[in-house]
């Protein structure tokens, strides 16, 4: 019976089996909207970057490792009037470069809310947002431990380095959210990690909520694998808004699991821009510099 199946039935079935051609589907695209990004440079300066959202089917062209300049230029918004209004009245931001608008003036007031209004004279589109200047918090302590280990896998030697950043900071009064970033200012001469199981790439952003914090002081140890001996690092701590924290969480979740991405529902990113996308933030990070020995 198995021979009958193998030599007659199976080939017949395989020959006549087929899969239908894919069917096209029209997915209506969202209209292009203004995208806002902001950065507080000093307590007086705020940089607003404006661009446009685009079709989901548009490929983002790259030039080597970076985005194609022409593509980026086409997205940046050059025709906007940007006004930031605070307790001392409105400030019209001046255009620093294509898509970049700068506010320099009186120092921003802690815990005060600032309204952002953007009008694009070409498209006639307008977006609004509001952000509060959040008081910064300082590290009370920053330390690290660095370990390098050689190990053998399938007759090959690998180098596994683990950089453990120990940090401590005081939690501010009320409901707060924090963001920690690590920057590699200059690379040392130590050997980089070659562990194939080092799944983390780059220097990820870490976020915290004080909702589960038991005491006024927060301690944590963060592990990085892409640090080598001799590196000069800057670690920053920013007190961020709840909505931006939720954006960071969405970003983290969207890349968290292969299976979640493949089979689960997509992750929607929140925005605090009314009528547009992106974020208007007024947080200012504090920084500590470390040299890994």
């Amino acid at each position: 019976m198995s021979k009958l199946f193998l030599y007659i039935c199976l080939p017949l079935i395989l020959l006549t089996s087929c899969i239908p051609d894919p069917v096209e589907i029209d997915v209506p695209q969202a209209e292009s909207k203004i995208v806002v990004a902001s950065q507080m440079l000093l307590d007086q300066a705020v940089l607003i970057q404006l661009s446009r959202s685009f079709n989901a089917l548009t490929e983002t062209p790259t030039d080597g490792d970076s985005l194609d300049e022409d593509f980026l230029d086409a997205l940046l918004l050059d025709s906007a009037r940007v006004i930031m209004t605070g307790p001392n009245g409105p400030d019209t931001l001046f255009k620093l470069d294509r898509g970049f608008y700068l506010r320099v003036g009186e120092a921003l007031t802690l815990n005060e809310s600032y309204n952002l209004s953007i009008f694009d004279s070409v498209s006639g589109k307008q977006v609004f947002s509001q952000a509060t200047v959040l008081p910064p918090t300082e590290f009370t302590e920053v330390g690290y431990a660095f370990e390098t280990e050689r190990f053998e896998l399938a007759d090959t030697f690998f180098l596994d380095s683990t950089f453990k950043l120990q940090l401590q900071f005081d939690d501010l009064v009320g409901e707060n959210y924090y963001m920690v970033n690590l920057y590699n200012l200059s690379q040392g001469e130590g050997q980089p990690s070659t562990n194939p199981l080092s799944l983390q790439e780059g220097l990820p952003t870490f976020t915290y909520t004080d909702a589960l914090l038991n005491g006024p002081t927060f301690y944590d140890t963060l592990t990085y694998r892409n640090v080598r001996q001799g590196d000069t690092l800057a670690v920053t701590l920013a007190h961020v808004s709840k909505s931006y924290y939720e954006f960071l969480l969405a970003r983290e979740r969207s890349g968290s699991s292969f299976f979640a991405n493949l089979l689960g529902e997509p992750v929607s990113y929140p925005s605090n821009i009314e009528g547009g996308f992106g974020f208007f933030n007024l947080h200012f990070p504090t920084t500590r510099v470390l040299v890994v020995e």
């Binding site: 029209d26 997915v27 190990f151 992750v267």
Partner: protein, 756 residues
Amino acid sequence: MSPHLYGQSYTISGYVKDAQSGEALLGAGVMVQPDRKGVYTNNYGFFSLTLPKGNYELLTNFIGYGSDSQRVVLNRSIRLDLMLEPTGTKVEEVVISASKQAYANEVKSPEMSAINLQMKNLKLVPTLGGEADVMKVIQLLPGVTKGGEGSTSILVRGGDPDQNLILLDEAVVYNVSHLFGFFSVFNPDALKDLTIIKGGFPAQYGGRLSSVLDINMNEGNLKKFHARGGIGLLSSRLTVEGPIVKDKASFSISGRRTYIDQVLGLVGIPVPYYFYDLNAKANVRLGERDRLFLSAYLGDDVLYAPDFEADSTENDSVVIGGDDIGFGFRLGNITSTLRWNHLFSDRLFSNTSLIYNRFKYDINGNVLNNSIFIGSEVQDIGLKSDFGYYINPEKTLKFGGQFIHHRFNPNVISAQGDISQLVQDSDPNLIIANELALYAQYDWQVSKNLKLAGGMRVSAALVPEKVYISPEPRFSTVYTLNDKNSFKFGYALMRQYLHLVSSSTVALPTDLWYPVTADIKPQSSHQVAASYTHHFERINSLLTIESYYKRMSNLTEYREGANLILNNNFEDELLQGDGEAYGAEILVKRDEGRLSGWIGYTLAFSKRYFEELNGGQPFWAKFDRRHDLSVVAILKLTDRVSFSSVFSYLSGSRFTPQVGQYLTPNPSLTAIETIPIYASRNSLRLTPANRVDINLIIASKPSKRIKQEWHLSCYNLFNAPTPFRVNINFDPSRGYFYTQPSFLGRMPSVAWNFEF
């Protein structure tokens, strides 16, 4: 209870049985003339009629069987076992007459939203790969839709996949799928019949919101030995049954296994996967009043690495040997039920069941010197007692209770080697939950035209730090206009104390069941349904038009981007919200005759409301399929040749499309990231799918000692598109565009069945 309490009344009681096998027939109608009063046999084929002294004609009928008529002189209580001949041995007219009587009974029954399927017809319906599959046939019924194309999952009246109570001889089957959901665990040769209830739930059932699928296994032929089996495209089956002691005790054993791994293995093509099922049942009559049944099911899916030898481990799972790389899993169910029927009197029937079931999966993987194990298990031990007190043909009291002890061991994770730096071992996490329920239901023929069935179920769940108790009222009624027309109405409140933790609607080995906790509340639903039933006597068909509205609370969904795999703290990922579903269903069915089958159509709407999803706005459920049409036709061409076909039209499932994107600096301001923009959740539909399946059945001459059947079938004959997802494609002349690939196209198959 003495008949003297009812004056000159006496009781006729007994069992309705298949005349050839001696097996009990469930749901057969037993009616007395000239009063036209009657009852249905219970789940064990028992009936009891208490009537005033007199002469009666006792009419018995059951779909798929001829009818039986006996004259009874009732001047004392009597025991009477009624034998019905199966259709194949009866002339057409007798069969049609029995079927007509059964439909007339159905018109008058308050039971609603329930459909009973006989295995005889079910096996003729063409299915994927020529493998008769009860779940695939159930998907063709109105009110029931499927998950993905080709899958065995069912979604009933806008509910979720975990809201179906699937019982095999009263034991819960947690995972009904083989081969990632393409085949069900139910071997059709091992089954006797099944009933799906979608609303108007009797009080004896509880624990899930949307449906009860009650499947009974063959009891085994009490009169002679039989064997039957088959060889299909994917699997082979063999069933042996017969008497242990003639007319007193019998057994039935069925086995099924895929063999593509063995066949292709002969020519050196490794297929490292197989599944198998084993069903066994025995029953023994201990006397006039007692009967014991023991049934069991065992089934597994096994994936192993072909290049390595399998070893066993302490986890009793398939483990991949070898030093470099490997992956494997084993998942499956075990169910076993010990049932004791006892007649306290000729009017008080009881059944007590001791039930054990287990669903378990083990996944093993190793890369170089690293290994990881993921496992999960749910075990239940249950005790259930049901009583039926047949007061008289107008009044029946049913009552009983149930206790289930659940032991959950979810997401056991163990890693060895360097990977343990990235994947943490889980802490021991045995969760114990207990479910209790008591119920009573009173069936009352109020007048010639009005019959009520009212009940109350009180359920409770005891979990760490919390006790949930809930009354669950049930009610259904029928108002009969005449012998051919009736209106029915039903209401049911249902509670569910378990839910399925799944990252998708694809049946993954990692799906696991989890109980309510102090924080995760039980799901509940209120469902009302109204129907109109008409018996077309001339063409021997039954029409049912039914509408329903279901309001659901504490439904479960998962946070966007939730990672449920390798996550030992998945409770944090769970969200609870509400839902509503409403729709209308039409069913026209004909169970007997040269042309039989059914036409089912469903218009359905299903919405969800979750505060933390879709910006707090309502959204459509993923399987909110608006239109679902199925036409199933079985045509008997000659005594030996039959032809069956299925046409189905199904609105596409919903998905959340990406409708744009934007660039923004990353949080550390060191690079630019692309952020996708999505439309509102489940806002777009895949293209509708329609499909024609056919099956030609050629049987050997009935006089042959070994009866043979060839099934030549073709799934999706016209190779019609059956979209299941959206892809992005690229064409140099037009750039990027969206397409919907199909998963399954035309697939012919051949199967050979035998019986002797």
